[in-house]
């Protein structure tokens, strides 16, 4: 016996905790991916990133309502379409935000931080006046609900599995895009040397705008995933922003793989801890650990030393 659980229990605890850690991991990672692209590649602190996630969540909600109203027969499949829509909408908004706001603030990271915070306030208020302050949640297709029980003690929620699937796919796409595609090449070139990139004929402005928009789009997908585990309110996204930033910084701003690794570490640590201590303490301990590690290793866990 340990903590009053039998060892077989502890076994299933580990499985299920590991799993609920994984679903936290999914949301964190999807959020962090977008942020890592924006922060890591462009050095922009996007405090409104959470609100882009919220945009995604509300998109799902709206679409589910529309489907319910007009194409009830389509109910089972709408979610897949909705995810893409969530991406597109968040992407578009991000595109304009970059054009109107961000591009005027490059190389002033601390100022982008303040400006985007202001942006987040405005977006939250827009959500509130459009959708009302009450928490809303889309009607999920039935196949997303319920759970899968390999053993009587172990019980894995389907929506969790689904979210994880999305996460894997998106992560793969983003990483491929960044390291294999022409666009990725331009992005990395621009990050490393804006002037040279410009000199060799890369339209850095365009690259920046795309990068930012893609980052936001991914956040939109995060929102979509989020709706399957919790409800959506005007401030849903903002509750994740700090954790997300820690994930990115912890992973070493520049490297996406680092982001993945750190998202995994953090979410697992948190979920295991919250099982054995109180909710709040679990979180506190995790955050503290991150900060301490960051102090010992400011450049982040997984980034390599670079010549300055």
């Amino acid at each position: 016996m340990l903590f009053g659980y039998s060892f077989s229990d502890l076994g299933s605890i580990l499985v299920m905790q590991g799993f609920s850690g994984l679903s936290l991991f999914s949301v964190l990672l999807l959020m962090a991916l977008g942020l890592a692209i924006i922060f890591g590649q462009m050095g922009v602190i996007n405090m409104a990133h959470g609100e882009f996630m919220t945009i995604g969540a509300y998109s799902i909600y709206v679409i589910s309502k529309i489907t319910e109203q007009y194409f009830p027969g389509f109910m089972a499949y709408y979610f897949v379409v909705a995810i893409i829509a969530a991406f597109v909408i968040a992407f578009t908004v991000g595109y304009f935000v970059e054009f109107l706001l961000i591009r005027h603030l490059y190389r002033r990271p601390l100022d982008t931080l303040l400006a985007t915070w202001g942006l987040s306030l405005i977006m939250q208020q827009i959500f509130r006046s459009v959708f009302g302050g009450r928490e809303v949640s889309p009607t999920l297709p039935d196949w997303l609900m319920g759970s899968w029980a390999p053993t009587p003690n172990i019980d894995i929620p389907i929506n969790g599995l689904f979210v994880m699937l999305i996460t894997l796919v998106v992560t793969a796409i983003v990483i491929l895009a960044l390291y294999k595609s022409r666009w990725g090449l331009k992005v990395r070139a621009t990050t490393q040397n804006r002037m040279m990139a410009g000199a060799v004929g890369i339209n850095t402005q365009k690259v920046d705008r795309m990068t930012f928009a893609v980052g936001c789009g991914v956040a939109g997908i995060a929102g979509a995933a989020f709706t399957t585990i919790a409800s959506t309110g005007p401030t849903s996204g903002s509750t994740y922003i700090v954790d997300t930033f820690l994930v990115v910084v912890f992973g070493g701003a520049a490297s996406l793989l680092g982001t993945v690794a750190s998202a995994f570490t953090i979410s697992q640590a948190q979920s295991i801890l919250t099982f054995f201590m109180t909710n709040a303490m679990g979180k506190v301990v995790t955050l503290l650990a991150i900060i301490v590690i960051l102090m010992l290793r400011p450049e982040g866990l997984f980034s390599s030393k670079v010549r300055k």
Binding site: G43, I45, L101, H104, L105, R108, P109, L110, D111, L113, L114, A115, W117, G118, L119, S120, L121, I122, Q124, Q125, R128, S129, V242, F245, L246, V249, T278, N279, A280, M281, K283, V284, L287, L288, I290, I291, L294, M295, L296, P298
Partner: protein
């Protein structure tokens, strides 16, 4: 050289600015506002401490802390703990399971006062703590980060995370902290009822005097070589380092200083509002403190005060009349200040008002204002 005039008051410009501010705080507002509104102004002025601290830390030293709320809170909670202990004497808490301890502890099945509360029975200790605790906290955080050259964005994010942690802790450990409700129902300071009108007037004036005092102190520091070093560090850190200075020590110093200043504000907040709760120490208030400084002009100490007054007044005025509009306005404020008025009110004053003010003043004062370089450089900064 005339140290008092030039260094403490900051030359003619500084002296005038300070005079006007003092006039506003000590005479105009008290005359024209009833005690209820004056008490609110007093509340706004406690945020001014945080704003001033950010002018030093962010404006001059280029270190953006998103955690000033932490120190504001530490100061506030220290004061609140003392007042709470005084308010929970056995007589007035007779109804509790354990009389003599704060009510919220009783509700959380705590049967005796936690050790770290004990010393807060003493007022001197409390006042000491208001200065020392934030300073030590800031020193630890600062030493850990600045020695390792963690700066800029990373510092901002980490301080924000620390703010988050503290909020979670305060809310989670409600047996010791009062949780989300905070420490409420505070009555007397060393036997003196802080809820009477006369008390509120007195507290308002104490607050004002402290604020002016802090501004003078900051002026003095900025006009010293230390002040010039801060600017130098902000712009060319390496050069300063390779001129034989241990940059981190200077950063730690200014961070700790800013922590103490904010804490004073927090303590005065508790005294004037009558309670303290986590809602004033978290992430959001911390960022709002930054915007106060930004609106005032991140390099102007006086500006910070006006920023605090203006934004907070706007907040309560607007949130009454057009609640929805207020958030838009606040958001717009952040964006606008960053994009169009990076030097805030002070900047506007420099560009539009100052010339005419100078002409006006020169009529009266014979001696042309021979401002010391320190002040000079600040001017240039602001005018940029």
């Amino acid at each position: 050289m005339n140290t008092l005039y030039d260094r403490w008051l900051g030359g003619r410009q500084g002296a005038i600015g300070l005079l006007l501010l003092a006039l506003l705080i000590f005479i105009i507002l008290p005359v024209f506002l009833d005690i209820y509104r004056l008490n609110n102004v007093g509340k706004y002025l406690t945020y001014a401490f945080a704003a001033v601290s950010l002018v030093m830390l962010w404006g001059h030293a280029g270190i953006l802390s998103l955690g000033q709320g932490i120190f504001f809170g530490v100061g506030g909670y220290c004061m609140a703990m003392y007042l709470k202990l005084e308010a929970s004497d056995p007589a007035s808490t007779a109804r509790q399971t354990t009389p003599g301890i704060p009510d919220f502890m009783d509700w959380n099945q705590i049967t005796q006062l936690p050790l770290f509360w004990e010393p807060f029975h003493s007022l001197p200790f409390t006042i000491l703590a208001i200065f020392v605790v934030p300073a030590v906290l800031a020193y630890i955080v600062g030493a850990a980060m600045f020695k390792r050259r963690v700066g800029g964005v990373y510092f901002a994010i980490i301080t924000q995370a620390i703010a988050a942690i503290l909020t979670i802790l305060v809310v989670g450990q409600q047996g010791y902290t009062g949780g989300i409700n905070g420490i409420t129902d505070l009555k007397t300071l060393h036997g003196w009822n802080i809820n009477t009108d006369s008390a509120k007037y007195i507290l308002y004036y104490i607050n004002g005097v402290l604020l002016v005092g802090v501004i003078l102190l900051c002026r003095y520091i900025l006009s010293s070589k230390l002040g010039r070093l801060l600017l130098a560090m902000r712009d060319k850190e390496d050069r300063v380092r390779f001129s034989g200075y241990d940059v981190s020590n200077f950063k730690i110093f200014v961070f700790s200083l800013s922590a103490i200043i904010s804490a004073i504000g927090g303590a005065m907040f508790t005294l004037q509002v009558g309670f303290m709760s986590p809602t004033f120490v978290g992430i959001v208030p911390s960022i709002e403190m930054v915007i106060l400084a930004a609106v005032g002009g991140r390099l102007s100490l006086i500006g910070a005060v006006y920023g605090a007054l203006l934004v907070n007044y706007g907040k309560s005025a607007f949130s009454e009349t057009f609640p929805a509009l207020w958030l838009f306005l606040m958001g717009g404020l952040f964006i606008g200040v960053v994009m169009f008025f990076p030097n805030g009110l002070a900047g506007l004053y420099q560009t539009y008002l100052k010339p005419s003010v100078d002409r006006f003043l020169d009529k009266f004062t014979r001696k042309s204002s021979a401002v010391k370089p320190a002040v000079l450089s600040e001017k240039k900064e602001v005018a940029e």
